[in-house]
């Protein structure tokens, strides 16, 4: 059984937002919607202050609250650990948006473009009417993961079948792979480091691990 997860080394993230841009490029999300975003967190009191960059997106939880509350079964958890949305079933009730403690989901009720009501050629070419009025979020670039099943390539190793954000990360902070495989890059990295998952106390069992120090 596979369980695809992501690890993000907070020691390495420099907050360049390249992953955010790569995600928008790969998934053609509308203006104002970022499936992958990097938060810039300032903590402490002068002169003892810190700045931390925190990449956030759907955590693809093993126990996803969004899936439980969804009245339509549009949100499902796949056997490989990915949490997916069927845009054909979703009614846009936003119950999943409320259920997600990671603020990962959004609903766009009307088409918006970067420069007003008229889409640029690239926006028109990639506009997906199925995503209007329904819930959407990071998919872990599910089309690439599905491609791996056909080609035999390994997500997290072969760029063609790895999420766009991971491919784009300039510092190598983001890694992707099968945590059930002890030899995967993610499994080995997590074995060597100290890490946590956000809001674990809520019982969601998120699939994104944040590394903060070596073991």
């Amino acid at each position: 059984m596979k369980r695809y997860v992501m690890s993000i080394d907070l020691r390495r993230c420099v907050g360049c937002q390249t992953c955010t841009a790569a995600c928008k490029g790969a998934n053609a999300t509308p203006p104002g919607i970022q499936w992958r975003r990097v938060l810039d967190i300032e903590t402490g009191e002068f002169p003892d202050v810190r700045r931390t960059f925190l990449p956030m997106a759907c955590m693809h939880c093993a126990n996803p609250p969004c899936e439980k509350v969804c009245p339509t079964r549009a949100t499902t958890k796949r056997a490989d650990g990915l949490v997916a949305i069927d845009y054909e079933l979703c009614i846009g009730c936003a119950n999943c948006v409320m259920a997600c403690p990671y603020d990962a989901r959004s609903i766009v009720h009307e088409a918006h473009y970067a420069y007003g009501d008229t889409p640029m050629a690239s926006e028109a070419a990639r506009f997906d009417p199925d995503r209007i009025g329904v819930s959407m979020k990071c998919t872990f670039c599910v089309d690439r993961i599905d491609l791996a099943a056909l080609t035999g390539q390994i997500p997290g190793v072969d760029p063609e079948v790895t999420p766009a954000c991971v491919n784009s990360c300039i510092s190598g902070a983001m890694q992707f792979g099968d945590i059930e495989d002890p030899e995967s890059n993610v499994s080995r990295l997590l074995a060597q480091t100290q890490h946590y998952r956000m809001h674990e106390e809520l019982g969601t069992e998120p699939g994104v691990y944040y590394i903060w120090d070596q073991s």
């Binding site: 907070l10 009245p71 990671y102």
Partner: protein, 306 residues
């Protein structure tokens, strides 16, 4: 107009939810009161006309709430898909119960049969319970997911239902009996207790600062308008104050108004998201890990390091 300074750190703090606006709030506001009204209608031995009027009002309240939600969802013409996940979704269960409520309530309105009135009342309670569970299932909103929000939503729904019933009885030829007024006072006390217990537990267990600020801010007004004033009015009516019907009606309206004010505040104004939490700040270079941070929260309970 001067724009507020946008600080990077603010983006990490809990944010007020905007996906469920007044239309979604209306479902909880009107639907909960309608469910409570159906229940108490089935419990009180009122005249046939008053019973019919109360049932009709209960169904209108539930129906108007659901209609508001229909206008809010992104794909209203697919609304029937809501029935696809009975196993775990309280929204599906609410929708199923709603159909049964309208069937039983409609027949009860037409026939006046006691068994159907009773069935409609039980289903009204089930509808109210489903709504309470919908809110509590939303882990992304700390003010809703607290277990005590369930008892609060049920308590206020029952109190509002009783308030409406007193209004209906005041307007009809039937007099508002002593047991009904005593029951209304008891429900006011129960709601006040549920509210205080909920707020106290929320403060103790932790919630976004903004949520606590909003909820503690309404507490005095809720106490006066939603609890003390109607309790005095009901007591006056019970004591035989002149204009008993009018006083009872005013008490019922105040109980309803207090509950609706509470629910609107809970669903809209106090509904802030979880935000983020970092149990450890990352080690940079040869430095040490920084302390935990949870922007927008006073304390940081939970959080396990790997």
């Amino acid at each position: 107009m001067k724009k507020p300074l946008l600080r990077a750190s603010n983006l990490a703090s809990p944010k007020q939810q905007h996906n469920w606006d007044w239309r979604a709030a209306s479902n909880f506001i009107a639907g909960g009161a309608g469910g409570g009204l159906l229940l108490w209608t089935s419990m009180v031995n009122a005249s046939a006309d008053a019973t019919r009027m109360a049932i009709l009002l209960g169904l209108i309240l539930i129906g108007s709430g659901l209609t508001c939600v229909w206008f809010e969802i992104g794909r209203p013409w697919r609304a029937l898909n809501v029935y696809r996940h009975f196993a775990t979704s309280w929204m599906t269960r609410e929708a199923v119960v709603a159909v049964a409520v309208f069937a039983a309530g409609g027949l009860a309105f037409l026939t006046g049969t006691f068994a159907l009135v009773l069935l409609a009342g039980i289903l009204g309670l089930a509808f109210l319970y489903s709504q309470a569970r919908i809110l509590a299932a939303n882990k992304g909103i700390p003010a809703w997911r607290h277990p005590r929000s369930i008892s609060l939503m049920i308590a206020t729904g029952l109190a509002e239902g009783a308030g409406f019933l007193v209004c209906v009885l005041s307007l009809s030829s039937a007099t508002v009996g002593f047991p009904v007024l005593a029951g209304l006072i008891a429900l006011i006390v129960v709601r006040a207790f549920a509210w205080n217990t909920y707020l106290g537990a929320l403060v103790a267990d932790g919630a976004p600062d903004a949520t606590l600020k909003v909820l503690t801010g309404i507490a005095p007004r809720l106490l006066v308008v939603g609890h003390i004033l109607p309790a005095f009015a009901v007591a006056g009516a019970m004591a035989g104050m002149p204009g008993r019907a009018g006083v009872s009606f005013a008490a019922g309206i105040l109980v309803v108004a207090g509950g609706w004010f509470l629910k609107f505040t809970l669903v809209r104004r106090a509904a802030f998201t979880q935000g983020l939490a970092l149990p450890h700040l990352p080690v940079r270079g040869r430095g040490t890990a920084g302390p935990a941070t949870k922007p927008g929260w006073k304390a940081m309970p939970g959080g396990k390091a790997g």
